[in-house]
Every structure is written in C-alpha cells, then in structure tokens.
Amino acid sequence: MKQTKIPVDLILESMAKSAEDAQKRVSKASDVLLGDLNTALATTPYEVVYEEDRVKLKHYFRSETAENKLKIPLLVIYALINRETMLDLQADRSVVKTFLSEGIDLYMMDWGYPTRKDRFLTIDDHVTGYINNAVDFIREKHGIPKINLMGICMGGSFCVMYSALHPEKIKNLVTTVTPTNFDTEQGLLHVWMRNLDVDKMIRAFGNIPGDLMNLGFLLLNPARLIIDKYVGFSENMDNKDFVENFVRMEKWIFDSPDVPGETFRQFIDDCYKKNLLIQSKMYLGGKRVDLKKLTMPLLNFYGKFDHLVPPEACEKLVKTVGSKDVEDICLETGHIGIYVSSKIQRQFAPKIAQWLRERDQEDIIVRQAKTARNLPAAAGRQKPPAKELIKPSSRRRRQPAAKSKSSLMQKIAEAI
C-alpha cells in the first residue's frame, strides 16, 4: 500500500508564521482599537423639512450654483426594516453624495423608530398617509404636479403601491431590490414567511422587534454573517480604515427599528402569503392597487445574488405595469451590495441620475402643462401648454454588470 506523504514540516512552519503574524496584528490592532476612530455614518448635511408623528422628511443640501441640476426633485423611500442611513454609510461610498453631485434635489423619508403606539399603523397609513403627505409637501414646495420617486426594498413596494394609486403625482419611478412577486421558492425568506402564524406573532410582540428580524437575517447565512465576517475583522483589525468601515457597517446593520405590527401583518398576509400586489388584487384604504396604472417611466434594479429579495421577486414588475418606458437592471451583487459596494456604486447611483436626467428635460414641458391644469397657485407663472414628448420605449432587460475580485467589505455587503 502506497503511503501518503504529508509535508508536516511545511505545515508546522506555516502555522508558526501565522501565529507570529497574528501576534503582530493583535499588537497593532490594540493601537487602532484604543485610538480615535471615525465611525460616524450619515454625515451628509440635511435639514428636516416636514415631520409627522415619528416620520421625518430630510432634505439634503445640494450646490445651487451647480450647472448639472435636475429640475424635478427625487424622494427616496427606504424600507421599514433597518434605516435609510445605509445610503450614506461613508463619504466615499455614499449614494446620497453621488446623487447630490449629480445635481439631484434629494429628499429622503426617515421612518424613525416605531413604538408600541404605532402598532396599529397599516400599510395604508404609510402609503396613502405619510408618503402621500410627503409627496404633497414637496409638490407644493416646488410648485410642481409630479415628483420623482425611488423606493428601496419594502419601501420600493410601498412606492409601487403609491404610484399605482396616485400616478398623477409621480413623474418617474425607480425601484431597487423591490419585492413585488412573492410567489417564489428562490429566497428562503419567502419560504419561511409563508407558514408564519402572523396573527399570533402580532399578539405576542405588538410590533415586530428589529432584533428578532436581524437574528432571522443572520440565520439566513450564519457561516458568512456570524463566523467569516468576524474572522475577516480579526484579520484586518490592525487596519484603521477597515475597522472604521466595518464598525460603520455594524452600526447600520444592528440599528433596527421595530416594524409596526399591523403593517407587518398586512405585508405578510397580502404579499408573502397571497401574492396580491403583482396580481393587482391588493387593496389599500378600500382602493385597488392596479399596476396597470403605473404608466410613468420605470427603472427597476435588483441583485443577482440577493437572497432576501431574489431576482424572481423583482423582475416580474416591468412586465406587469402599464408603462412602455421600463428598464430592468440586474447587478451582480447582493441585497445591500447595490448601495454599499464601491464597485457597484460606480454603476448604480450615476445610472439613476442619468436616467432621471434624460427624463427631466421632458418633464419641463409636461410640468408646465400639468401645472397649468392642477395648481392654480402657479398659474401666474405658467407658460402656454405644450405637447408631452413621446418617451422612448426601452423595454430593456437585465444588464449584468462585470464581476471583479471582491474585497472583504464587498463580500460582507454581498452576503447580506
């Protein structure tokens, strides 16, 4: 029988070297961890321009002298799970900063931290209540009939619902990692949610605790999110930049507001269990959410490796809406990677800005026509109504982005 030759000496030598490296790293890491660390997130300046209950509307400052300014403001609606600070995680990877430098007049909804008193708030309260009021506020402030709307994850679903109920107020719709088709076996979340006794859950918890949901998300990939992530941290904890970025990410991930009970119930029952949204059978405040009424231009982003909202949950939307100007973009990343991965950053936010810019010019004409009809206050400033331009029909499908070697932070972002 042939004996296997194992290079024991080499293995031992390698282990000794690893131990030596680790010792050096720990020594240097103590300087980093005990020193001053800049781990602040969401540092781009803004002002709160509208408040209602726990909800705040942030308005970011853009350079008013810049030449590339877009005329129609953009309202970003984040999910009720985790916080919108993810879009401004760090200066060199901030969707907010990119939007501002691209000349977008940016508003963002901060859902705040729901308390027990918010447990009876439904999706209807969020969509036709808070979102509608914020949209009306921006329309009135700018004296325009329509604004641009962008939704993220569950916030995207809310935007789809809102735009279907109020197409007259939305100029362009951007949906990112937005679940609309819940009848899929691709994501574990979809499989697990289907058999959830949501009534009992609401009775027991009131609001759904953010920590409980976070635990659920960690359990979707424990090897990466509970083990490898921290092994990666220990290997790089002597690198100040890495530590700062890592801590920022940790701060964001575990900053999880609770989800109002009734909203959660409605989302699970109507969407995850009955899949009503994509079938245009969902009702909000007694009104049917008919996706055929989504006649505005639609840009739909999703992640190829998104295990929370898999491609199958997103890609049906463009085929269902009434608009002819739709575009589907599938990026080779995960759920959060779209917003925080430096590689994807270069494709994502600039693409949105460019897409909006192409439709911003058209809107001036539309705006003048609509303003004349809908907003009597602006009538004094109106120009003669002009014909709406014919929009390009670009039913483009998936545009896979190139994949390069990922950094650890990127890997983490993709694993989420």
Partner: protein, 295 residues
C-alpha cells in the same frame, strides 16, 4: 385479636403519649393563670380580655383534639392521611428520577450514534431524539403538576402563573432543540472536512496554510447550512420555536398583568386599547382636516 390490633396501632403511632404529656403541661400552665376578676376585668382593655378568651378556647380545642387522638382508631386514620403526603412527594420524585434516567439513557445512546448520523449534506430526518425525549418527559411527567387546578380566591392568579412557568419550560426546551439543529452543520462540516483532507492528502495536495483549510471548511459549512435551511425539519423547528416563544411571551404578559395591576401600573393591554383609540381618532381628525381643506 382486637386487643392485639389495638396494641399494634398504639405502637405504630407514637403521638398519643406525646399528646397526653403535652396536654398535661399546657393544662398546668393554664391553671397557674389567675382566674379573671370581673371587677378588674372591666378595667382591662377589651384586647386583653379577648386574648384570655382566645387562650382558653385554644386550650379547650387542644384538650378535645388530645382526647380524640387518644382513641387508636382515630389516630390510625389521621396517620393514614398523613402517610399520603410523603406518598405524593415520593411519586413526584419518582417521576422526576425516571425522567432524568430516561434522558440520560437517551443522551448516552445519542452519543454513541454521533458518528453514524453525521452524514454530509444530509438533513433528512434529523436525529433529534434527545430533545423529543426531553419534551416528552416534560409533557408527560412534569407538566401535569402545572395543570393541577388551583383553588380558592387566588385560583386565577395561580393558574396564570403556572401557565407562564409551563410555557417558559416548553420554550426553553424548544430553544435547546433549535440550537442543536443550528449546530448540526458545524458537526457535519468537520466530518466532511476530515474526509476532504484525507482525500487531498492521498493526492498529495494537502493545504499548507491554515487559511486555506479555513476557506475549505467555510465553504463546506455554508453548503451544509444552505442544505439544512431548505429542509422541512428545519423550517418546522424554526416555526415551532417561534410559536413556543410567542406562547411564552403571551403567558408572561398575562402573569405580568396581575403584578402590574396590583401596583397599579398600566399593562400592555390597557395601553394597546388606548393606542388603538388614539390611532382611530387621529385618522378621523386627519380625514376631517383634509375634507375641510378641500371644501
């Protein structure tokens, strides 16, 4: 024969002589207490009189009890009743021991089966016998004591508290089971890593770096987790754990309500009712505001 029986009963039951002696002592003490002087008694406070009366009543009660207990038949009956108490305690202890032995036996059996059951990437019929036995033991042997119907004025409070303890135990058992399932892929991944390294060693391509070994293990582990999460057993365990957690929280809330009401602090139920009313009122106000604006 009846005489013998009587003798036996007396020897079985040592209390009559002790009762007799104790009775004599207390009677003598009572005798030493001066008889009440009515003129003096009027001067005494009402509470002192009541104390003397109560003392006399207790001595009389003790006398009659002693007399009764000196009858061997009565003493034997009382003894029999008292004997049932240790019987109950013994029965409880017995079921506890049996449960413990059963569990230990199962754990040992499971320990012997560890290697046999660690089959890579296979999570069908997860071997969770230990936890099934633990749950079984709890449900069959121990839970019954929480279900003894409480009596009296505080019965509902006791019932709610017992329910809370019961649900807490059930939840803890479920959590232990769920954690053991979550640990399974780690157990299996080490076995799979061992096999893989053996195969690599045979080919002479054994990784030299610790990092390489870690990367191989992590990939195996991730694969195992993905496989586990898709299994029905895992989904069932997840839902079951969540359900037991909810049962526990609801029971805790109910038991807590009793304490909070006692203090008095508004309970979640009280606040929820208030919040609901507030929510509906706010909605109406907003609707009215809109109507006024648009009018």
């Amino acid at each position: 024969m009846p005489e013998d029986n009587k003798q036996n009963k007396e020897s079985d039951f040592p209390f009559p002589p002790w009762l007799k002696a104790s009775m004599e002592v207390w009677s003598n003490i009572t005798k030493t207490i001066p008889k009440p002087d009515f003129a003096e008694a009027e001067k005494q406070s009402a509470s002192n009189n009541r104390l003397a009366e109560q003392w006399q009543r207790n001595v009389n009660l003790m006398k009659s009890f002693s007399k009764l207990m000196s009858e061997p038949e009565a003493a034997a009956t009382a003894m029999k009743a008292m004997n049932t108490l240790p019987e109950i305690i013994f029965k409880m202890a017995k079921s506890g021991w049996e449960a413990s032995f059963q569990l230990q036996k199962n754990v040992l059996e499971k320990a012997g089966k560890i290697r046999r059951h660690t089959e890579a990437y296979n999570f069908d019929n997860i071997d969770q016998e230990t936890f099934k036995v633990l749950t079984d033991v709890y449900e069959k042997e121990l839970r019954q004591y929480f279900n003894i119907p409480p009596l009296g004025l505080t019965r509902f409070y006791q019932e709610r508290f017992n329910k809370f303890l019961d649900k807490q135990n059930t939840f803890e058992t479920k959590v232990a089971e769920f954690l053991s399932i979550i640990y399974l892929p780690i157990e299996k991944s080490f076995k799979a890593l061992e096999e893989k390294l053996q195969a690599m060693a045979k080919e002479g391509i054994l990784p030299k770096e610790v990092k390489e070994n870690y990367a191989i293990w992590l990939k195996i582990l991730e694969g195992h987790y993905m496989k586990l999460f898709q299994s029905k057993d895992y989904t069932d365990a997840l839902h079951d754990t969540l359900e037991k957690m909810e049962d526990y929280l609801l029971a805790k809330d109910e038991a807590m309500r009793d304490f909070l009401q006692f203090f008095p602090v508004p309970t979640n139920k009280d606040m929820d009712e208030l919040y609901k009313e507030l929510h509906l009122l706010k909605k109406r106000v907003k609707e009215l505001e809109k109507n006024i604006k648009s009018a």
